[in-house]
């Protein structure tokens, strides 16, 4: 069997399993195992499996993932979201649509201690949704704002998908976090502009609030000290060269726990909830990794990714057009797959091809960082558009009185801002690379 038909057989059986509702990890593992056995024999397969789980689960850089998830859980259950929302609302609440903008800003700030999109959306929704409804905000604007704001949780570092990307491509996690920073701020501003445009056309959607005094603002700022302290400690430590990202995540997890304990926001039951929540998300990620390892082990034996990269470079198509095509492919995948599975599944195959293309004359590291941020933004879009739109589902479960279609309609202005931002970053890689170059 040649490589092309081999690849088709492996990916074909994987897609079949996925379509038939097998867990994504299993859908990757089984075809990978069969292919491995076919190429290298049963002894080689059994030998590989002896160390596969330990090798993956004990991988040092990967420990950053459950630690950041735990940190996000402590932040979520530790009541930090209310302080952040009050703070943001005190500063931007007096604008028309100000409370929605405050929710966006609070999401961005919460994203600085949480690397998960759904968790950010859900925790801010619990605080901001009742407040917006109390002010007679339109349901559509309120739910859409929170669904979209959640994506800032993964755009603003720490970011679990970005860590996954860094590990798969052997890039520097700290540099990738740095590269995501300005795009994350642009996203926050873009969402606020989207809100401003929507409410300028329909002022009845969002009643205004009175402006706060300086003293009131200062008081809300004092309340967010745990977030500021943890963020400064974690990222100051990482960029100050004091510790590795894994150690930073450990410091962050310990810091958010201590902050929650000091503020009496977390009892034993709450801590147990944090552990159980961490188990669900971390378990899923490690299982998908285990499946992808098996698949990639088999693909590496068949040399398919390398050949694909060579084939792509010899197509003679403009490299930027190929990249644009890939971005469209990622958007389509966002229709039916979650962002982490998408990254774990595609990167090992697509990344070598990206590295082989000449994109804006960038060096290898720059290209890897830029593509990582670009891909992060694109898969994040899948969280808010139909039919899957996980964030929309989560918010919908918290706001039963707003029909899901209403939320999806409300998301449209934000989607436009997302697409504009992707185009901007596509045309100007420097947006992501500026801070990285500045620091190094």
């Amino acid at each position: 069997m040649n490589n092309v038909s081999f690849g088709i057989a492996v990916f074909g059986s994987m897609l079949t399993l996925m379509v038939l509702r097998a867990p994504i990890s299993v859908s990757m593992f089984l075809p990978g195992a069969v292919a491995y056995w076919y190429i290298a024999g049963d002894n080689a397969l059994l030998n590989y499996l002896k160390g596969a789980a330990y090798a993956r689960f004990s991988f040092y850089d990967l420990s950053v993932i459950p630690l950041f998830i735990l940190m996000g859980q402590f932040a979520t259950h530790g009541g930090l979201s209310r302080a952040l929302f009050n703070f943001a609302n005190a500063f931007v609440g007096h604008f028309r649509g100000g409370m929605a903008m405050a929710a966006i800003v609070a999401c961005a700030l919460f994203g600085a201690v949480c690397g998960s999109s759904v968790a950010t959306a859900a925790t801010l929704a619990q605080v901001a949704l009742p407040e917006m409804r109390r002010l007679n905000y339109s349901g559509r604007l309120a739910t859409a704002t929170l669904a979209v704001g959640g994506t800032l949780g993964i755009l603003i570092p720490p970011s679990v998908p970005l860590v996954v990307y860094a590990i798969l491509t052997e890039q520097n996690i700290a540099k990738l976090f740095l590269a995501a920073f300005i795009p994350g701020i642009i996203a926050t501003i873009g969402y606020c502009i989207a809100i401003a445009i929507v409410v300028a056309r329909r002022p009845d959607l969002a009643p205004a609030q009175p402006r706060r005094t300086g003293a009131e603002r200062w008081k809300t700022f004092i309340e967010i000290w745990p977030v500021v302290a943890v963020f400064v400690l974690v990222f100051g430590g990482i960029y100050g060269g004091l510790f590795t990202p894994t150690e930073g995540a450990a410091v962050g997890a310990a810091g958010t726990l201590i902050a929650a304990l000091i503020r009496h926001e977390l009892d034993l039951k709450g801590i147990a909830q944090c552990f159980l929540g961490t188990a669900v998300t971390s378990g899923m990620i490690f299982m998908v990794f285990l499946g992808a390892d098996m698949l990639n082990g088999a693909l590496a034996l068949s040399q398919m990714p390398a050949q694909l990269a060579e084939w792509v470079t010899h197509l003679g198509w403009p490299p930027l057009a190929i990249l644009a095509g890939l971005i469209v492919l990622y958007i389509i995948m966002g229709f039916f797959m979650d962002e982490l599975s998408t990254v774990i599944l595609t990167i090992p195959v697509i990344f070598p091809a990206i590295m082989a293309l000449d994109l804006w004359g960038l060096g290898l590291t720059d290209k890897a960082i830029w593509f990582g941020i670009l891909m992060l933004m694109v898969v994040e879009i899948g969280l808010i558009h139909p039919p899957v739109g996980l964030n929309v589902y989560v918010i919908n479960s918290l706001a039963r009185d707003v029909p899901m279609m209403e939320t999806f309609k409300g998301v449209i202005p934000f989607l436009i801002s997302d697409f504009l931002r992707v185009i901007l970053l596509f045309l100007f890689p420097v947006i992501s690379l500026f801070l990285v170059r500045l620091v190094s």
């Binding site: 379509v19 509702r21 899923m284 039916f336 797959m337």
Partner: protein, 173 residues
């Protein structure tokens, strides 16, 4: 994409089911505690190192072994909560009954894969033990790390079989 068993993750009825639930929750809590311990150990190692003092010897290796065990303890609960995501986009047109049957099949496959991994990890532990391999700095016997992974993996496989039974049950109703 969603958890296959998200609707089915209600309280268990039979005694073996209850045992799996309690064990999985206990394992997840233990895993969370272990993860917190890893975090605190890292902090305890960073602080003296930042001050120019002696850090904890072999802290990297402790993180590695601890993490491997921790992950296997988190997996059973993840499975019971339907955390192992599936793609449900292409089957939404199907009757619920057929969706559940496919979910049962998927869980059986998952149980099989994990059982295979558990078995091979156990074999790996045995061969590492006879080879006497240890970690570089601490001289920690590596086979213990491998062996400590197998209970969590075995429980995950059992949890997946239970999910399969639950989904099959639902398809009949």
């Amino acid at each position: 994409m969603s958890g296959a068993e998200s609707e089915a993750a209600s309280s268990p009825r039979s005694a073996p089911a209850q045992a799996i639930y309690v064990l999985a929750a206990g394992a997840a809590l233990l895993g969370g505690a272990l993860l917190s311990a890893i975090a605190l150990m890292s902090v305890a190692s960073i602080v003296p190192r930042s001050l120019g003092l002696q850090p904890i010897q072999g802290d990297f290796e402790l993180v590695q072994v601890g993490l491997a065990i921790c992950v296997t303890l988190l997996l059973p609960w993840c499975q019971l909560q339907g955390g192992n995501i599936i793609v449900d986009f292409f089957t939404t047109w199907m009757r619920k009954r057929w969706q559940r049957r496919l979910d049962a099949l998927g869980s059986v496959l998952f149980a099989g894969v994990i059982a295979l991994v558990a078995w091979r990890t156990g074999v790996g532990a045995a061969s590492l033990k006879s080879a006497g391999e240890t970690t570089m700095l601490l001289g920690f016997p590596l086979w213990i790390g491998y062996a400590a992974m197998t209970p969590g993996l075995a429980l995950t496989s059992a949890a997946a079989l239970y999910s399969a039974a639950l989904a099959w049950d639902e398809a009949r109703r």
